[in-house]
């Protein structure tokens, strides 16, 4: 075991917002690691490393820097392993980590650890034509109404009627299923990554265990850091792009939904992890961390995972679409009008736990890559063929959910991000304290009072654990977003502030 001082020799500052992790920091690194951080954020990263050195490896988390480096040691990785500004210790991959693998290299791998357990966890933003003034008198009732409509928290069950046959179709069709069943609008599709449907999805590659977990949970928010928030526009940095998104004025009311594929995705990931452990022995693939289990992309296990992952991704879109439907209903009921008249369109829907086949340029040559984004968001630049026509001139909207009670942001993708980070940027605030530390240091009544004082209505299924999601437990989202902006990997467009939070 190296000491903290010895570890530091492998770390170099590139500039004010980027650090370099040199080969040798962990064994077998094929490429270098990089992570983005400003002076506040880098402190947290170094703290993680110091803590792990002090523990001498006995228990605890692996520091994010080590995880970025372990990813750099995976077979077939190209370019670099990148930590975005919200990066922190995760499982296998760090959370806020991205890595691309060369599809033309037969040794290149796909790793479920590079997607995460919550496959296609993501954020969706709806706009309304309401002003804060319209909502204020009804704020508490509206929060309650939303809470009554959307099932939240551990053990809650979906209210949208589902049969096993429906589930098969939903896994195959994604948002198209929601559209057919009348839960989504035709325009919603256009504003989702992949148009809300991954075509390689194959429900037969999803185990019956996963389907059993998925069936009762469709249309539920979940727990942990998932939420639905009513937000108002606090600041517009880019008038033109905001207008394209239908954001016209300050204090315009929006709804943000952060959720994923629930137990369905968790089980698909677990199943793949177990299957790949066996395949690794057969194909003699070595990795630094058992949670980084992987398989050659073209192997049966690799292909099965990608098809199952796509089905779970479709489930996540159906899930977010179902909650969009419920939110629209809740608003329509409270304002005694229709969602149409409230102009409740989807601005965009991003996926921040996913692996995708994409075209990128490496040393001037076009390559087909399998891009893993774990806790990081695709941020394609203007004119990219895969972004909707409405955003061709602005770049892809990137939705950055803050933490409970703090701001959220909308960014747009940039050309520089396309070149430096494979068109990837941050996904949120990123944890700063472990959950255990949050529980020790904070009191849940203080956290609830603080929200109350800020004028934020809160409805939460597990108030006693609310300190785990308190702003103090997370990195400052503004630091994270400013670092992305300063590094040029995405551009600030809109800042939103919550007025009501619904949580598990």
């Amino acid at each position: 075991m190296r000491s903290y001082q010895e570890e530091l020799k492998y770390l170099d500052r590139v500039n004010d917002h980027c650090w370099h992790i040199k080969k040798g920091f962990v064994e077998n690194m094929n490429v270098d690691g990089y992570f983005f951080a400003n002076s506040h954020l880098e402190k947290l990263m170094f703290d993680e490393l110091r803590q792990s050195c002090n523990n001498k490896g006995f228990g605890g988390f692996l520091p994010g820097m080590k995880q970025i480096a372990n990813v750099a040691a995976l077979p077939g990785i190209v370019g670099k392993s990148i930590g975005l500004p919200d990066v922190h210790s995760g499982y296998g991959f760090a959370i806020g980590n991205m890595a691309a693998f060369d599809m033309s290299n037969s040794k290149a791998v796909v790793s479920p650890g590079g997607v995460g357990f919550d496959i296609n966890c993501g954020v969706r933003l709806l706009r309304t034509n309401l002003h804060r003034r319209d909502v204020e008198p009804l704020q508490e009732q509206l929060a309650q109404c939303l809470f009554d409509h959307i099932p939240v928290g551990v053990g809650s069950k979906g209210i949208i009627p589902m049969t096993a046959q429906n589930l098969e179709e939903a896994l195959e069709m994604g948002v198209d299923w929601s559209l057919r069943e009348g839960y989504a609008w035709a325009e919603d599709k256009e504003h989702c990554e992949e148009y809300g449907r991954m075509l390689q999805a194959d429900p037969s590659k999803v185990s019956s265990r996963a389907k059993k977990r998925g069936l009762p949970q469709l249309g539920t928010l979940g727990a942990g850091n998932h939420y639905a928030e009513i937000q108002v526009v606090e600041e517009i940095y880019d008038q033109y792009a905001a207008k394209k998104m239908g954001i016209e004025f300050k204090d315009q009311v929006c709804v943000m939904i952060h959720s994923g594929s629930r137990g369905m995705g968790h089980q698909v990931a677990t199943d793949a992890l177990v299957a790949m452990e066996k395949a690794m022995k057969r194909d003699e693939i070595g990795v630094n961390d058992r949670q980084l289990a992987c398989a050659h992309i073209q192997s049966t296990e690799g292909q099965d995972y990608l098809k199952g992952m796509a089905a779970a991704a479709n489930y996540a879109w159906v899930n977010r679409s179902s909650m969009t439907f419920l939110s629209r209903q809740a608003f329509a009921k409270m304002f005694k009008t229709t969602p149409d008249d409230l102009d409740m369109h989807v601005i965009y829907d991003v996926s921040h736990n996913i692996a995708k086949v994409e075209e990128h340029f490496i040393d001037g040559k076009q390559k087909t890559l399998l891009v893993h984004r774990k806790g990081s968001t695709r941020a394609f630049p203007p004119h990219h063929p895969l972004i909707p026509v409405d955003y061709q001139l602005t770049g892809q909207p990137v939705l950055i959910g803050g933490t409970m009670g703090t701001c959220s942001y909308v960014l747009t993708g940039t050309e520089q991000g396309m070149m430096e980070t494979f068109g990837t940027t941050c996904h949120g605030a990123g944890r700063a304290l472990s959950r255990a530390k949050s529980r020790r240091n904070l009191d849940y009544t203080d956290v609830l009072n603080a929200l109350n004082q800020k004028g934020i209505s809160i409805r939460v299924a597990s108030p006693k654990l609310v300190m785990e999601e308190a702003p103090e437990s997370y990195k400052n989202v503004t630091d994270v977003v400013d670092t992305c902006h300063a590094a040029g990997i995405s551009k600030k467009c809109i800042k939103l502030r919550p007025i009501a939070v619904i949580k598990g």
């Binding site: 357990f117 551990v154 059993k212 979940g222 727990a223 942990g224 137990g263 058992r290 654990l465 598990g504």
Partner: protein, 110 residues
């Protein structure tokens, strides 16, 4: 793990017994499957939350465990909701058997 999914574990009554049987390739995978099996039956039918888990057979050579949980179905109207455990992970999983009291580290995804 289950003490985390409800904030008042004492409300879980031991109404019936649920048996599981798992095997692994080594000690870590056995530990993984043992936890994952109970998590699965919490997350799907019968939504079982155990109050007490008793290991009835533990084969450390063939890596097999038989265990039974004493508990009841999780009910959000009866059990105050905690937060959800999504999955068991292998991340930095450790089993230390040197001392008399063994130490086990498992990181779960929440």
């Amino acid at each position: 793990m289950f003490n985390y999914m409800t904030t008042d574990y004492s409300r879980v009554e031991m109404k019936y017994v649920y048996q599981i049987e798992v095997s692994g390739e080594d000690m870590l995978s056995l530990l993984y499957h043992f936890l994952d099996e109970f998590l699965f039956f919490f997350s799907a039918e019968p939504f079982f939350i155990p109050r007490v888990v008793q290991i009835t057979e533990f084969d450390t050579e063939e890596f097999k465990i038989k265990a039974r949980g004493f508990g009841e179905p999780f009910d959000i109207h009866k059990h105050p909701q905690g937060t959800e455990v999504k999955a068991i992970t292998y991340s930095n999983m450790q089993v230390h058997e040197e001392s008399e009291k063994h130490d086990i580290f498992v990181i779960i995804d929440i």
